[in-house]
């Protein structure tokens, strides 16, 4: 069974019969003819036999990976952010921001390449820019550099601003679980004003696996729809 999380920048793919760990392919390098059996993400409906919504995959993945009845799971992707809040083991709230949260992860990666920065070597700054999206945030960087702030410090403030915005979007929990490629960015993780548990970039794939298991356990109910919200 071929599972795929089609991200805007990277695709996470798992062949459940052959792979022990998922492989990551840059989206622009993925063969156009590639088709998954079950998928989520960008254009998943066109690139798979069956697709599920990203929020659904996130929630199901979180429920598999986090062994707690109450938690908040935030996924920061290349172009959007989304969260689910789990209460008593079921989904109590969720949100998806593809407009105002636009291009966060993409811009963070772009800036590292442009300014040749290593995010692992940059400490979290004391303050962050007040920004709502990657595109609008860029102008703050340029303004700060013009005002004499170092490029590294300016980018660090930008990254902290992005983290603060994502935290606000998830309704400012005291503690959150983080999903997505930005889990591997120490500066981003350290910029949150709360305790963060990085879960890595395969949470949505785990949600796909959970969907498969639900189907295998009870195909009739799966077809009808088995509630994750009670």
């Amino acid at each position: 069974m071929l599972l795929a999380d089609f991200g805007t920048s990277y695709c996470k793919i798992l062949d459940t019969r052959r792979d022990s760990t998922p492989r990551i392919v840059a989206t622009r390098e993925l063969d156009r003819s590639f088709r998954a059996d079950l998928a989520t993400g960008h254009n998943a409906a066109r690139r798979s036999l069956r697709s599920i919504n990203e929020l659904t995959a996130l929630a199901r993945g979180g429920l598999q990976l986090v062994d707690r009845p109450d938690f908040v799971l935030l996924d920061c992707g290349s172009r959007d952010i989304k969260f689910v809040r789990i209460h008593n083991g079921t989904v109590a709230d969720m949100g998806w921001n593809a407009e105002c949260g636009a291009s966060m992860g993409f811009t963070i990666e772009l800036l590292a390449t442009y300014y040749r920065l290593d995010y692992a070597a940059i400490p979290a700054p004391a303050t962050g820019f007040s920004i709502t999206c990657g595109v609008l945030g860029m102008s703050h960087i340029f303004d700060a550099v013009v005002a004499g702030v170092s490029e590294t410090e300016a980018v660090a403030r930008f990254v902290r601003g992005i983290a603060l915005n994502a935290h606000r979007f998830a309704h400012e929990p005291d503690e959150l679980y983080l999903s997505g490629g930005l889990c591997a960015n120490p500066l981003f993780v350290a910029s949150f004003p709360c305790r963060v548990h990085p879960l890595g970039r395969f949470v949505l794939l785990e949600g796909l696996r959970a969907t498969l298991r639900q189907g295998a356990e009870n195909p009739a109910r799966q077809k009808e729809g088995k509630p994750d919200i009670d």
């Binding site: 066109r46 599920i52 998806w96 407009e99 919200i229």
Partner: protein, 251 residues
């Protein structure tokens, strides 16, 4: 020759009866009637404003009308009260403000029927143009609820199954009692429910408030058209509630 009479909101039944008796044609200005960019209204109405009322102004810019009735009472909203000033200045025809406080309940068989949700809304909004009640319909066993006003973008409704029951102001519309707050705030706590409001609408407070009280609900809003975020949120909510979403998914 029949006149073209524009209506905004739900004017009192007596007004509708008068228009019908005269054989005039009713044009529902709340709904998109012309294909033109909504930003054409930006000189008169701020962009960050109710998309329904921006649509009203857009229709007024393009349509030939002989008269307009705009409901500005508790059955509509203060925004309509203020937009009435704008369209009264825009149009060379009478713009008559009404305050619908009708209390005679006509029932709401469409809201609980098995029709596709979009068809329910089409018939309910069309029903405003008639003083007659809707014929009785069989009630379906509901799987979920939609609470709120008719959205500016009806395509949002395609996400829901036919077994969706309608609540909120839309139910008040069908009941022909648009100012009935008691009916508007009614919901079924046993049904997973989407509380919908137009962005920048005063009713968004009620939507959020009721969604917080409801044990299985989300509050969503959208502006002129339903974006992918809103669609995806509704789709996931339904899916995670064990309900197979309709065919108009986020893809």
């Amino acid at each position: 020759m029949p006149r073209r009479v524009g209506i905004v909101g739900v004017p009192p039944l007596a007004v509708i009866e008068t228009i019908n008796r005269a054989g005039d044609v009713i044009v529902d200005l709340d709904e998109p009637q012309v294909r033109a960019p909504i930003d054409q209204t930006a000189a008169r109405i701020p962009r960050a404003y109710c998309a329904i009322l921006r649509t009203v102004a857009l229709n007024c810019l393009h349509l030939q009308l002989d008269q307009v009735y705009i409901d500005v009472g508790p059955g509509k909203c203060d925004c309509a009260l203020h937009v009435a000033e704008v369209i009264a200045d825009m149009l060379p025809v009478p713009v008559i403000r009404t305050r619908n406080q009708d209390t005679r309940a006509f029932g709401h068989p469409l809201c609980t029927s098995h029709l596709p949700l979009m068809e329910k809304f089409r018939r309910i909004t069309k029903g405003v143009q008639s003083a007659a009640p809707h014929p009785p319909m069989e009630t379906c066993r509901p799987s979920c609820g939609f609470w709120g006003v008719p959205p500016r973008d009806f395509s949002l409704l395609a996400l829901f199954p036919d077994t969706t029951h309608v609540f909120g102001w839309t139910r008040c519309m069908e009941n022909k009692t648009p100012a009935d707050l008691e009916l508007e705030r009614h919901f079924d706590p046993a049904l997973p429910t989407v509380f919908f409001s137009q962005s920048f609408c005063a009713k968004s407070v009620l939507a959020k408030h009721l969604a917080a009280k409801h044990p299985r609900a989300i509050a969503v809003d959208c502006d002129v058209t339903a974006g992918s975020s809103t669609r995806a949120k509704i789709e996931a909510f339904l899916e995670l509630s064990g309900i197979t979403p309709g065919r108009g998914g986020a893809g």
